[in-house]
Amino acid sequence: MSDVILPPQPSSLPARLARGWARMKRNHIGFVICALGPVLALFVVIRIYPIAETIRLSFYDYHITRRSNPFVGLGNYAYLFEDGPFHEALVNTILFSMLAVVATLLLALACAILLRSIEKAAPIYELLFYIPVVTPWVPASVIWKWIFDPTFGALNYALSFFGVARLGWLQDPTLILFALVAVSVWKMVGYFVVIFGVGLRAIPEELLEAADLDGATAWRKLTRIVLPLMRPIILFSVVTCTIINFNVFAPVYVLTASSQGAPAYDFKVLVGEIYSNGFVYYHMGYAGAQCVVLLLFVMSLLIVQFLAFREKK
């Protein structure tokens, strides 16, 4: 360590400045500013400023096509309380996210761990799992509509062998939740298999070999070595998966919003409502208020997740 421990000194201004300078040097503030500065500037310009602007406009009865956009104070926020479809969307989004996060991450973690025992085949499996991530939604929607079709769908056909009667997967307000979770797991599981793969490959093989020598069972190695070392990556996955699923819109849109084929239950979700209000109903200010709800809601979840994963010292 090159830094010196400064003896206690009278806190005259020059002395304080000197101390501050020494601390900054020790912490490489110059490098931090040079390295992080440009990245933060980009964030401010293309994310934080536009979001702040969106929040500002949530206090106006605003739409870009209108000539007058009066200030309405908390008017948009007050309307949140009486907006039935918004409440429906909020509940649906929470239910959907809970199920999708748990299902996606458990499946991905299990498969990522299992893949490490068949290392040679792992790259091929990872590729196969990743294919849905790169598959565009629109053609995928046709296939999933076929799979979920009540009359001739592959899923009901398979279930008929177990004596299950015709189910309207996309037509029933309850079943559609599970259908959407299945589709979103299909789409995202490969992403998290790759993520967990990176975390698992960073675990030193020596630790596991040592445990093998001690005669540890696979379960013990998993719970005592692998999972604790995976903590940062699991936290990352929980957080990102939560954000991604709270933003769910595309699968809902392509599976339900169609003027053709089997009619689907109109499953409302938050981002769908934000989009509709902003671009279809011409209430951009109100959509901004809904964004604030989304932001506060997800951020409080994330803070809980960070606290839960905090390293106990």
Partner: protein
């Protein structure tokens, strides 16, 4: 990692099932690309095309400028991927290894900015790009894709796993912080960085809403915009869209394979030893 026979058998079985789940719908799309419109809409649906046809591929290759769209998309996605790999790794490094005022707060603000989808705050970005006279340029297409919160966050998590002692040792040898980033951090976080590269490329490729608003001439089209032509007001022509999807999946899988090839088990471990 696990050499137990039972684990290996479980691995083969469960991963094969998952692979079926992920791949069969995609194979169905591939098969759809070779079907006629009547067969795609026929009921009950077929899996394999009864009379395979290249008509859908002909349609998108000869009636749109699809090769051009693919080149545009490759350009946008590649530049975006490089930018995101740089910005994510350096910011992730700083958040993981340096103490500075408001570190936690700044990080949380970055994370918060990812909770809202671009569609919701697109208009202020659009107006800014317009004022910079950048509408309908590649720069505008790429701009929102130069950073990725998940990338910063992921690199932070990965780099946190690199022992501080390695950095200190380098500093004692007189290394600058930037040298540490280039030579130690990038090397030891390569697995994570390549994964971020894959995601960045995929995300840029699939981007739709932003190109939709900033692009106003056909020569700037990306593949996703090009395929949207087949979505009519009241119905969708799925054949050409499936054919386009098949074509556009290929570059992404090539990138996946290319970047993943660099990822090998134990890189980080051997690095730590060295």
């Amino acid at each position: 990692m696990f050499r137990e026979r039972s684990v290996r058998i479980a691995a083969w079985i469960s991963c094969s099932f998952l692979a079926l789940f992920t791949v069969v719908p995609v194979l169905w799309i591939v098969a759809t690309a070779f079907k006629t419109a009547a067969e795609i809409n026929a009921w009950p649906p077929t899996f394999l095309p009864s009379a395979p046809t290249w008509a859908n591929f002909d349609e998108i290759i000869y009636h749109t400028e699809f090769p051009r769209y693919i080149l545009n998309t490759i350009l946008v996605s590649t530049v975006s991927t490089v930018c995101i790999m740089i910005t994510s790794s350096i910011a992730g490094f700083v958040f993981a290894k340096y103490k500075f005022p408001f570190r936690g707060l700044i990080f949380m603000v970055l994370l918060a900015s990812a909770t809202i989808p671009l569609e919701a705050y697109m208009i202020p970005v659009y107006i800014m790009v317009f004022k910079l006279k950048m509408l309908n340029t590649f720069a505008a297409l790429i701009l929102p894709l130069t950073i990725m919160t998940f990338g910063v966050f992921f690199m932070r998590q990965v780099i946190m796993g690199i022992p501080d002692e390695l950095l200190e040792a380098a500093r004692i040898d007189g290394a600058s912080e930037f040298w540490i980033y280039l030579r130690i951090i990038l090397n030891l976080s390569k697995n994570g960085l390549m994964a971020i590269g894959v995601f960045a490329f995929t995300q840029a490729w699939a981007n739709f809403m932003w190109p939709l608003v900033v692009v106003s001439t056909g020569d700037m089209y990306t593949t996703e915009l090009g395929l949207a032509v087949y979505q009519r007001a009241f119905y969708t022509e799925y054949g050409p869209i499936a054919a386009g999807a098949v074509i556009s999946i290929v570059p992404m899988l090539i990138v996946f394979v290319a970047l993943r090839r660099h990822i090998m088990a134990g890189i980080a471990t051997s690095g730590m030893k060295g």
